[in-house]
Every structure is written in C-alpha cells, then in structure tokens.
C-alpha cells in the first residue's frame, strides 16, 4: 500500500461513497416495506433524507473522478520504469501475487467513474423536472433511480478501496531473469490500437460524426425539436462519437500534442493540461445529449409537458457548447503543435 495525501483522500472519499451508497440502497428498498400506519409519515419525510443523501453522493462521485487520476499521477514516481499514469495502470500485470488484481480493478474503476457521473447527472435532471411540477409526479421514478446509482457507487468504492489496500509489489515468475525483465518493460509503453494506416479515416469519421451531432443539436435548439425520436437520433450519434473520440484521442491527438510516438492520453494530464479540459468538454457534450434523452424518456408525464422543452433545450445547448468548445480547443492545439 502506498500512502500519500491523495491515497488518504481517495480512501476517505471511497469510505463515504460506500457508506452513503449503502444508506441510499437501504432507504430505496425501505420505502417499499413501510407499514400502512407509517406510510403517510414516511412518504412525507423519507424522500427528503434520501434526496439530501443523494446530492451528497452525487458530489462525492463527481469529485472522486479527477481524484482518481490525481492519485494515479502521484503514484508515478513509485516505480523507476513508470513514466506516466499508463505505467501505473499496468503495474501488477503478469504478477502472481495479489497485485495481479490491480490492472482489472483500475480498469473497472475507470469505467465506473464516468458511469457514476452520467447516472448522477441523469438522476439530477430528472429531479429538476420533478421540482418544477406541483405534485411531484416523478418522485417514484427518482427514488427508483437511486438504486442503480447506489449500487454502482458501492461497487466503485469497493474497487477503489481494494486497489488502495493491495500491496503494489509485483511478484513475477520471471524475477531474476534480466532478459525477461527488460523485455517486459515494453508493457509500460502504450501501443497504437489501429496502426498507422487508420489515421485518415478516423479523422474523417470523427469530423463527420461530431459535425453531424453539432448540426443536429443546432437544429434541435433553433427549431425546438425536442420530441423523443429526434433525441434518440442524437443519442445514437453520441454513442458512435464516444468510442470514435476515444480512439481519436489515443491514435492521433496524443502523439500530435505530445510530439512523440506515445499513444498515451494520460501524458496529456501532466504535459498539455489544457487538453484535459477539451476532453472534459467533449464528455460534457456527450453526457448532456444523454441526459436530455433520459429526461425526455423518463420525465415524460402529463404534468411535465410544459417543463421538459426548456430543460431539454438547456441540456442540448450545453451539449452544443461542449462539442464546439472541445473541437475549437483541439483544432488550436493541433495548429500550435
């Protein structure tokens, strides 16, 4: 276990995530088992506690995402062969001890963090739609939505806690063999995923897809197309844009911005920090379209018919801002590189 300020902070946040996640899950289940005598009392009071806990959980989940990368960056100097976060993510690969669990734990956590932010954001926009109504018709859906949020939070906290607790000392079968050790260092270097010949079609695909989403968002915002079919189309485009954007970041953006043949987006955190904001804006754009689709599908009841269009419009506007901001920043970064 490597103890530094980030590890202590990450452990504390994970502990809170775990405890509050369990509370949210138990309260979410508990609301279904209330006795008739207490039903009125519980219906009045329990949601408020749950909502307050949920806001706290949302904040913790959001804070824990950048904290994870700050933690991994702080671990870089711990091994002489490791030069960036990518190397930290490979520690334990091929090991026979408990350290062999480290890579998959980190991979899981890197998936659950954005998932938590997306789930939390989706839940929050549903809450906003519900708050704008007179009789809170979405309260039941809101309380039900807390269950997956709590479950993923608990799973994420367990993974981070396990990652922190496992000793990061590799025990390899090839210890003692210099040749194997030297050859094994290549695992700390991120490789290209697609090969050199793929750059043109990948760039064209990203430009076409993101440009298409941008035009779709502009049309939806200007003409007020907020019906579910249009949102589904935008969401489908975003689902294509996310993996394409990830590939573009690894294959083209990282080597170009770093000016070296490393296909490592993690290096951008320390060397071109403003590009992390561009990645964040792209994620915001994708998530905003997703949240608009969530509220368009799950928040659609009679009482919210006047509430949803402005809310969806704001989310789509935020999405357009995210995509445009990301593209402008990346284009300028390429130009300056």
């Amino acid at each position: 276990m490597i103890v530094n300020a980030y590890a202590v902070l990450a452990a504390f946040v994970s502990l809170l995530q775990f405890a509050i996640g369990l509370l949210v899950i138990s309260s979410s289940f508990g609301r279904r088992r209330v006795t008739p005598a207490r039903a009125a009392f519980d219906a009045e009071n329990r949601p408020y506690l749950l909502l307050l806990l949920s806001f706290l959980l949302l904040g913790l989940n959001l804070a824990s995402w950048p904290l994870l990368y700050a933690l991994l960056q702080s671990y870089v100097p711990s091994w002489p062969d490791v030069m960036c976060i990518y190397g930290v993510t490979r520690i334990g690969a091929g090991s026979v001890g408990s350290a062999r669990h480290l890579p998959w734990l980190l991979a899981t956590v890197q998936c659950t963090k954005p998932l938590l932010v997306f789930l939390g954001g989706g839940w929050f926009v549903l809450y906003l739609a519900n708050r704008a109504t007179q009789t809170a018709p979405l309260m039941s859906r809101l309380l039900t939505g807390l269950l997956p949020l709590g479950l993923v939070s608990v799973a994420d906290a367990l993974c981070v806690g396990s990652y922190l607790a496992i000793p990061k000392q590799e025990k390899s079968l090839s210890v003692g063999c210099c040749t194997s050790a030297i050859a094994d260092q290549s695992r700390f270097l991120p490789e290209s995923l697609l090969g050199a010949g793929s750059h043109t079609w990948l760039t064209v695909s990203v430009v076409v897809v993101v440009g298409g989403i941008g035009l779709g968002l502009l049309t939806a915002i200007r003409h007020g197309y907020h019906h579910r079919r249009f949102l589904t189309g935008l969401l489908a485009g975003t689902l294509v844009a996310m993996p394409l954007g990830g590939l573009f970041l690894v294959e083209i953006a990282s080597p170009a911005l770093l000016q070296r043949p490393h296909h490592c987006p993690y290096d951008l955190v320390s060397e071109v920090p403003e590009s992390v904001l561009a990645v964040g804006l792209f994620t915001l754009g994708c998530f905003s379209v997703g949240w608009a689709a969530v509220v368009g599908w799950l928040g659609h009841v009679e009482e919210t018919q006047s509430v949803l269009p402005p809310l969806i419009g704001r989310l789509l506007f935020l999405g357009l801002f995210g995509f445009l901001g990301s593209m402008i920043m990346f284009i300028l970064e390429f130009f300056l590189s």
């Binding site: 403003e274 269009p309 506007f317 901001g325």
Partner: protein, 149 residues
C-alpha cells in the same frame, strides 16, 4: 424552446475564452531547450543522440536507449545516427563509436546505462572501472542493418 440571445452571447464569450487556453498553455510551457523525441525529457548534451531520416529531418534523443526505442519503431526511416563522445562532448558517427553498458546510470528517469566513447581504450577503461562490458558485434546498440547508408 428557443434560447434567448443572451445565451448565445454567453456561449460565444465562453468559446472565445476556451480558444485562448491553448495559446496560454503553449506560452506558459514555452521552453526552447531541445527535448527527446521518444520520451520528451530535456536532452543533456553529454549523452545526446541524433538521427537523420530519409526525408532529411533529424530527431534528437536523450540517450542511446531512447534512440534505440525510436529506431525500433521506425527502422526504415533512419539513415544516419550520431552519438556523443562522453569525453569530448562531440557528436560522432555511431559506426565509429564504442559502446559500453556499465553499472553507472546517466539518467534516473530512463535508467540509461549506455556510455559512448570515440576511443576504444577509454571505452575498455570505463568498462573495467564501472563493471561494464564493451558492446560489439551482435551486442552493438545500432547494428549495421539499422543504419542504412
């Protein structure tokens, strides 16, 4: 719902602000010191390696290890390799240099243990004094096949 005009203006100001960040980042990071093409470290003159490629462009590396890694990825592009004699600090052709791999690490980050000498006697002396080995033949860091004429 059509967003009010103020939203568009706010977004425009936000986008212009975002557009200034790459310029600000490059200005803050402004650093004219030459950096390694492989790992981005500042190149120390005593251990620098320079390669010339088929297009006439040259690449600088912080040590022999980085240059080998780069050439390993771009074998056909490399035409000429220049390494630095540790004694004089002068760049010499890799074919004329003597390479020693010893216990002395020149760079803690890269863990480089390659040492370059113009003179064979100096290379052997360094190998003796630093528990190293003269790397010739198949052990040469840049075997002839990697140095196309």
């Amino acid at each position: 719902m059509k967003p009010p005009v103020s939203w568009w203006w706010t977004a425009l100001v936000g986008l212009v602000t975002l557009a200034t960040l790459p310029f600000a980042g490059h200005w803050i990071r402004g650093d004219d010191r030459p950096r390694c093409r492989w790992d981005g470290l500042v190149i120390e003159a005593a251990f620098r390696v320079r390669t010339g490629d088929t297009s006439g462009a040259s690449s600088g590396f912080c040590d022999v290890g980085c240059a080998r890694s780069w050439i390993g990825r771009h074998p056909s592009a490399t035409r000429k390799i220049l390494v630095t004699d540790e004694d004089s600090g002068e760049l010499i052709d890799a074919r004329e240099a003597f390479f020693v791999r010893s216990s002395i690490i020149t760079n803690r980050v890269t863990g480089n243990r390659w040492h370059v000498f113009r003179n064979r006697d100096r290379a052997e002396q360094h190998a003796r004094e630093s528990r190293g080995r003269l790397m010739v033949g198949s052990d040469h860091p840049f075997p002839p096949s990697e140095e196309s004429p």
